[in-house]
């Protein structure tokens, strides 16, 4: 337990044990800034495409030309928010978190810039390839032609090398929990990319098994650990108090590692995949309750007694919603994996609602919360409170409308199929829910414009002029 107690203090300690020069700080801030700006551009592009797609559900003949057809833009939307926005946003913040929590400078700024180039080249050429119709079999999240996915792998390798070398320079003996999750996420994702590319075991049904594995590991072994890594640093940092339980964080780390990789088969329940593979996936989906409940409880207990802080501090509000959506979205995922419910929900829009609750409610809110909490510390420039509040409420209300509409609509769609009505009726009945999806989407997209403005203020704006995102320590709460 000694390690736990020591480790718990690291997030607080890094400010006092500063071992970095002003020049190092400026270099780290420049990297963090550049990644955040790049991520913001991808967010605007990817969600503008998403909004257009939502519109096409009601107006299928609108912009139906070759390069704007639904089926080419759909993977462009998912891949650009995945690999453009969320990944680059998480990586930029991870650089800052790793360097700070290790009390050292970044091992190599040049490698960080190289990584940024590689991530962007992959996302850009991937987008172009998809628009030209080079889609590798509509296989979710790995549609890019394989050479482009090698570029992504190179970006990951360059970055994890940089992060590991930074951790090797750390001031303390312990490795703070955030870095476990961040490095774990990078190492596992390198394996995921490699497994997805190698062709020898991907014939016919063999590839179905890999698709199930890839689809959910790319989410659960990349976005989840990185976002959790940010939570473990940003939440204690903003609250100015240690994480509730270091040991619980370690337990969640190992249980996530054991259960998450095996649950991908639940995307192919009732498919010709072997029954044992499907059942293992269902059991592990239930097992995921351990890391999800453990992790969420840890974050919520860290916030205990400072609930009013969620109103005072919008960075904390973003992080709080991120934790809640992690809890609710992941638990929903467990429930969806049960055969009886999967029989109704699989293939319906309910799944699309679920993926937005998790990728948007959990991952995107975590990225935003961490950026609002940490970027001002790096640059010394703050976004206005009004701007952050506007982003928060537009995004939250927009996402709620989106998810609720598709959850209700998707359930009705599934029940229509069970009742055996003509298929086209299930299409026609979705119209109002597709409309509400668009309404939610508009609010979400508007919130991204506000975010872009806030990023501008945190990077190119005037220094100071607003309170620090870090709250005052509260003696009574410790």
């Amino acid at each position: 337990m000694a390690a736990a107690v020591q480790g718990a203090g690291i997030a607080d300690r890094d400010a006092t044990q500063e071992q970095t020069s002003e020049q190092d700080d400026r270099a780290l801030a420049a990297v963090f800034k550049a990644y955040t700006i790049s991520a913001t551009c991808w967010l605007l592009f990817g969600t503008a495409v998403g909004l257009l797609l939502a519109f096409k559900f009601g107006a299928p003949d609108f912009w139906a030309e070759k390069y704007l057809t639904f089926g080419r833009l759909r993977p462009i939307h998912t891949n650009s928010v995945f690999y453009g926005f969320a990944s680059i946003g998480l990586v930029g913040t991870a650089f800052y978190v790793t360097a700070r929590s290790c009390g050292t400078r970044l091992y190599s700024t040049r490698l960080a810039w190289l990584g940024l180039w590689l991530f962007n080249i992959a996302a850009l050429t991937g987008t172009i390839a998809l628009d030209l119709g080079y889609n590798w079999g509509d296989l979710e999240y790995r549609e890019w032609p394989w050479p482009i996915r090698l570029v992504l792998l190179a970006a990951l390798l360059v970055t994890v090398w940089n992060l590991l070398a930074t951790i090797a320079r750390r001031a303390s003996h312990d490795i703070y929990l955030s870095n476990w999750y961040i490095i774990g996420g990078f190492l596992w994702t390198c394996v995921i990319c490699l497994v997805a590319i190698l062709p020898w075991y991907q014939q016919g049904l063999g590839q179905v098994a890999i698709s199930g594995y890839f689809m959910h590991n790319a989410v659960g072994m990349w976005f989840t650990p990185l976002a959790l890594g940010l939570f473990y640093y940003a939440i204690p940092k903003v609250l100015n108090r240690p994480i509730y339980s270091y040991a619980l964080g370690v337990l969640a780390f190992w249980t996530n590692l054991v259960f998450y990789p095996m649950l991908g088969g639940h995307h192919f329940l009732f498919s010709p995949l072997p029954w044992w593979l499907q059942t293992t996936a269902i059991i592990c989906s239930v097992g995921m309750l351990v890391p999800v409940l453990g992790g969420s409880a840890n974050f919520l207990l860290t916030m205990r007694g400072r609930y009013h802080g969620r109103i005072e501090s919008y960075p904390l509000a973003f992080l709080f919603i991120g934790v809640l959506c992690y809890l609710v979205g992941s638990t929903q995922g467990t429930v969806e994996a049960l055969r009886s419910l999967q029989a109704v929900w699989h293939f319906t829009s309910f799944t699309v609602g679920h993926s937005h609750l998790t990728m948007y409610g959990f991952v995107s809110f975590a990225v935003w919360g961490a950026i609002y909490a940490l970027l001002p510390l790096a640059t010394g420039k703050n976004p206005g409170r009004l701007g952050v509040a506007t982003h928060f409420w537009l995004a939250l209300v927009g996402m709620s409308i989106y998810v609720i509409a598709l959850s209700i609509g998707g359930t009705l769609q599934g029940l229509d199929w069970v009742r055996g009505v003509p298929f086209i009726q299930s299409v026609a009945e979705m119209a109002p829910y597709y409309l509400w999806r668009g309404v939610g989407g508009i609010l979400m997209f508007l919130s991204h414009l506000v975010f872009a403005w806030n990023v501008w203020r945190m990077t190119a704006g005037k220094p100071g002029n607003a309170p620090s995102p870090i709250m005052e320590p509260e003696g009574a709460a410790a």
């Binding site: 089926g71 090797a168 063999g206 098994a209 991908g264 829009s349």
Partner: protein
């Protein structure tokens, strides 16, 4: 433990454990599954079908259409449950994850008419008014002079360009060839589990007169018609001029002898001439997927709708024709 060693223990351990799990849960099963033997009658794709499959994937058809039938009652409309041997030549796999549109496992069997496929791709709403599929006009050319050997797509006037002929590009031809090749092969010895539905047939037969003395389940007849027939013959029964014959005022439907009407539903048709118009499209047989009572319901719906007054038919007549004309 020295700090660097500690780092390698944690991260090396996490990596090694992950690689072990991935081997057990993904790579090793995938090696095994990659050697799944093709099912009976499952053939490799021809070069044209391969090209069509690329058009399919490149334009993201797989995001709205699945190609897997689950062993669930709700999936029976799409065919028998998919078997491992069905996917031996399906790389990259196109099983899909969403059914915004219907499953396509058996589209070549259910909609075997290339004319229907071309009209539907050019403008889905020309044949399915409620469809929300985008049009794929970019897979067609509009020409003033019909090139030798080409056939123009017979679009309804409302959906056709103001002048000129609509001709499919090679990509559209490959795509349609691929779609028409999507047919499940029968598995010898496989019998679909008995359903509770046939038990309802006798009650349907004695159901009160629906309209004009027709004793049949009108609601079921209409639902079955919309699910199985309306894509070509249209909900209005008017068909698509030059492409799919009308049922409204159709002599076979109005005739007192239901033989031609029922035989066509049971066994399909192609190249028929109705009222002097030759219809080149293929109509699929329904004997395999619809029961006698269902076919009687559909026929009676057709015989009593859109101003038709054909003599009612019974399930027993369907059974006789099914047995007699094999």
């Amino acid at each position: 433990m020295n700090p660097t060693r500690k780092m390698w223990v944690i991260f090396g351990g996490a990596l090694a454990l992950y690689v072990l799990i991935v081997m057990l849960i993904a790579v090793i099963p995938a090696i095994d599954l990659s050697h799944t033997a093709p099912g009976p009658g499952v053939q490799p794709l021809t070069p044209l079908h391969v090209q069509g499959r690329e058009v399919f994937a490149g334009n993201g058809c797989g995001y709205c259409h699945t190609q897997q039938v689950r062993p669930l009652t709700e999936d029976k409309v799409f065919g028998r449950p998919s078997a491992p041997g069905d996917f031996s030549y399906q790389t990259p796999e196109l099983l899909g994850s969403e059914r915004t549109g219907p499953d396509l496992t058996n589209v070549g069997k259910v909609k075997p008419s290339d004319v229907w496929q071309y009209i539907h791709l050019y403008d889905p709403r020309a044949v399915v008014p409620q469809s929300i599929m985008p049009n794929f006009r970019f897979l067609f050319r509009v020409v003033d002079q019909l090139p030798a050997g080409e056939t123009a797509v017979p679009l309804p006037a409302k959906f056709a360009p103001a002048h000129g002929y609509v001709v499919p590009t090679p990509q559209a031809k490959a795509l349609v060839a691929y779609l028409l090749s999507l047919k499940q092969q029968p598995i010898p010895g496989y019998v679909a589990p008995a359903e509770a539905a046939p038990a309802a047939a006798p009650t349907a037969a004695v159901a009160p007169a629906a309209a004009g003395g027709y004793a049949y389940d009108a609601a079921k007849g209409q639902a079955l018609f919309e699910a199985n027939c309306a894509a070509c013959h249209q909900a209005s029964g008017a068909g698509v001029p030059g492409a799919f014959p009308p049922l409204k005022g159709n002599a076979a439907v109005a005739s007192d002898d239901p033989g031609l009407h029922l035989r066509t539903v049971l066994h399909g048709a192609s190249g028929v001439v109705i009222d002097g118009v030759k219809y080149s499209s293929v109509m699929p047989p329904f004997a395999a997927q619809l029961s006698d009572a269902d076919i009687a319901n559909i026929a009676n719906y057709e015989r009593s709708s859109w101003g038709n007054h054909g003599k009612p038919v019974t399930a027993a007549e369907v059974a006789t024709l099914r047995a007699g004309s094999k």
